[in-house]
Amino acid sequence: MTIGITSYGAYVPLHRLGPGSNGWTSPREKAVANYDEDSITMAAAAAINCLDGFSRQDVEALYFASTTFPYREKTNATIVSVASDLRPGTLTVDFSSSLRAGTNALKAAIDAVKAGSANQVLVAASDMRTPQPRSGMESTLGDGAASLLIGNSKVAVEVEDSYSVSHEILDDWRAEGDNFVRSWEDRFTLEEGYLKIFPQVISKLMDKHSLSPKDLTKVVFYAPDPRRHQQVAKELGFDLKTQVQDPLFATMGNTGAAFVLMMLAAALEQAKPGDRILLANYGNGADAFLLRVTEEIEAIKNRRGIRAYLESKKALPDYETYGVWRGIINKAPLVRRPAFRTPSPAALQRDIGKNLRFYGTKCKRCGYPQYPPQRVCTRCHAKDEFEDYKFSDKKAKVFTYTLDGLGPTLDPPMVVTVINFDGGGRAFSIMTDRDVDKLEIGMPVEMTFRKFYTSEGIHNYYWKCMPVRA
């Protein structure tokens, strides 16, 4: 039985800190999450991207990997599961604490399918680590997410073998209460950590399969920075131009637990049947995977991929905006505002379909779809004659809008819209990731899962609209 990747997806947030941002001193550009994004929302975006064209009902488990989970106690994967519209009750597991969490989840998913305990497991990895302002790490860390569907039929990328080791070391870490990533002196961390362990694990897997560098079409691997990435590639004998997947340091940044899986998604966008790919990740040890691309790869290339996501971008005007969005700068609001109210967990539970899955109802008698879900039809007044209707994947057009200068947002003005969905139905919707100079009646939008606000440790997630990303 062939086991491997049956689909892949990714998500790169729209905004960039880069040469166009006032107060940004690095020549590199990196992807940064909007104020309403976190590892859960980005994971949901990547999972939805990955599941494009696949039945949600057949996914039996979701493994969610991140080192920046919004909840320390409470499963984060369940929120990703409902936002991605997986089957209710799907097994959900969080993988955390290591930059290898993403490949740990991948390994566990492969093993689950191999063991026959599931036919399809969805892996989602997402991270938005915050470096200390003006630290060296600030220019290398970015935000993003990736997702892989692991299964045993129509496998597009066969997982031939894998190899892992663990290695106890304190190189990068965050302890309870730390907001920023800490590091030890890099002479030590590189010599005794990354450079010592990582090449060995790759070599070991290659040796086991009697592979020389020329036998691999592409190598996709982690590095803490671009210089070490090149150093390891050279040491192992790979040609930088033809064989090594761009680690995206110049355009996206190191996205933590999602990093190598995002690189893999980028590599798969270019892959051809028969390609052999080596994937390797690092973090208190290392994981290496030997992959072989099959004919099925051609069938799943139709989605928005890393390349499209990287090209679709908007420079932050300045470093201050980043600081405010990230919670590093506690800037006074434009006007005194009432505090957000804490949502009731009982009400959140009742409204999972409405708020997290973004489902409405469609009247069975007159056929009109309506959001939020109704029990008495707004058109024909039929009572309780509805079927569930998914709005999250519907495109829509702006019917009217305003720019609310006093709205509760860290990205003012708050763009409030009324949107009409293709296929019928409408909603009041906040628009995110927008350009205030490019708003107009009739503009096409799509829905995106975001965090509205947090109160008393409860993250209140909801869907917003955004201009369709190219």
Binding site: P343, N355, T378, T400, V416, F428
Partner: protein, 396 residues
């Protein structure tokens, strides 16, 4: 067959405090001042009140908030909330009670103490009542200016008004209200403005700027009603109720993708009910003055069309012609409106009725119109598709 309210209830006394940032006055203080002015105006004693309704949108609870400060002892009092139509609805209940013959004299009071909240706008108050517990509802996350700005954007688009044309039209409405406010001693704002000031004011919710938004104020107002046959005992110039219409939206703007945002059906239907009761067929000709809900300038523009004062899409022409100024054919918001008299939500309906009452009695001072006979009030509370709208028709 229902007969309606026409000529079955009469106002014999009214009171209204000065609206504004009444830092030194509590809600109870304003209730006392407005109600005692009404007692005096009617020539009655507190003990003459048989029943009362108190309206407040963001304030206190229970009928006791009226009983306690006024020492109304052991009479029936109901507390009522219906957004910006709150006070008018309190008035409506009092009118129905005396018309039914259940009581002889009833008191209606509207009150709002907003400025203690510490916010320059409304504290998206309806959220409190409409909360489904998740706070994920347009009434929570869409502020009041934004809710009406959605209508402005669409109105400009539908009728082909450029941003500048639209802003200029709205500015004329605000300038008119500011002028009228200078003639109203009890108004919150007394300041003339120019068109350019209004057009160039800071944006609150694009395309609406500062001068497109009404005042946020404290205030209270009160009315004493009885049956017309009893009213004659108290005064010769009592004012009678000709029509009372209230309707509520059912989220049509949010649910129905053909709801246009360029008219508000709640106003159209409430006006229809009130006009039917009053026997009004041509509102533009038959109504002598109106106090309409101008929470934002765009609301007033749309009201002109929804109330039948201007044809659809043509309100701008009437604004340009000065139709709604004190000197025009149909003066609107003669006391400065919500814009300048101020908008203590639960008190505004009775403040409007107070202005019509005084105008019909010829007691409106420097802004007095020449011999008006029929007046209209209109409140629109909530957000598009979920409004409560109240329209009253009053006459001599």
């Amino acid at each position: 067959m229902a007969e309606g309210i026409k000529d079955k209830a009469a106002i014999i006394g009214m009171g209204c405090v000065k609206f504004g940032e009444n830092w030194e006055q509590s809600a109870a203080d304003m209730i006392i001042d407005a109600t005692y002015e009404a007692y005096e105006d009617a020539g009655i004693e507190p003990k003459d009140i048989n029943a009362a309704w108190v309206g407040t949108s963001q304030g206190g609870v229970r009928g006791t908030q009226l009983a306690v400060p006024l020492k109304l002892e052991y009479i029936p009092i109901s507390r009522l909330e219906n957004a910006c139509a709150t006070a008018t609805d309190a008035f409506r209940n009092a009118c129905y009670a005396v018309a039914a013959g259940v009581y002889d004299i009833a008191l209606a009071v509207g009150v709002e103490k907003i400025k203690d909240t510490g916010f320059s706008g409304l504290e998206t108050s309806y959220a409190r009542h409409t909360a489904q517990g998740t706070w994920l509802d347009p009434e929570v996350f869409v502020g009041m200016p934004a809710q009406f700005a959605l209508a402005a954007t669409r109105y400009f688009h539908r009728y082909g008004l450029s941003y500048d044309e639209g802003k200029r039209t709205l500015a004329k409405i605000s300038m008119k209200s500011h002028h009228n406010g200078t003639l109203s001693p009890k108004a919150h704002l007394h300041r003339e403005i120019t068109l350019e000031q209004a057009i160039n004011a800071p944006i609150i919710a694009w395309p609406l700027g500062l001068f497109d938004c009404c005042g946020v104020s404290d205030g209270a107002s009160a009315a004493i009603v009885t049956r017309p046959d009893l009213a004659k005992k108290f005064r010769g110039d009592y004012i009678t109720v000709k029509g009372l219409g209230i309707t509520c939206g059912a989220s049509q703007a949010e649910l129905q993708d053909d709801y246009d945002f360029t008219h508000f059906e709640e106003t159209v239907t409430a006006a229809r009910l009130a006009y039917q009761e009053a026997g009004i067929k041509e509102p533009r000709k038959e109504i002598d003055l109106a106090s309409v809900h101008d929470c934002f300038s765009i609301t007033e523009l749309i009201n002109y069309e929804d109330l039948g004062f201007s044809p659809r899409g043509k309100a701008k022409e009437d604004v340009d012609a000065g139709t709604f100024t004190l000197e025009g054919d149909l003066p609107v918001n003669t006391d400065g409106g919500l814009k300048c008299f101020g908008h203590p939500v639960g008190a505004s309906g009775l403040r409007m009725i107070y202005e019509i009452y005084k105008q019909l009695q010829g007691k409106a001072g420097p802004r007095q119109l020449k011999d008006p006979k029929i007046g209209l009030t209109h409140n629109l509370g909530g957000l598009p598709g979920r409004f409560t709208c109240a329209v009253t028709i009053l006459g001599r």
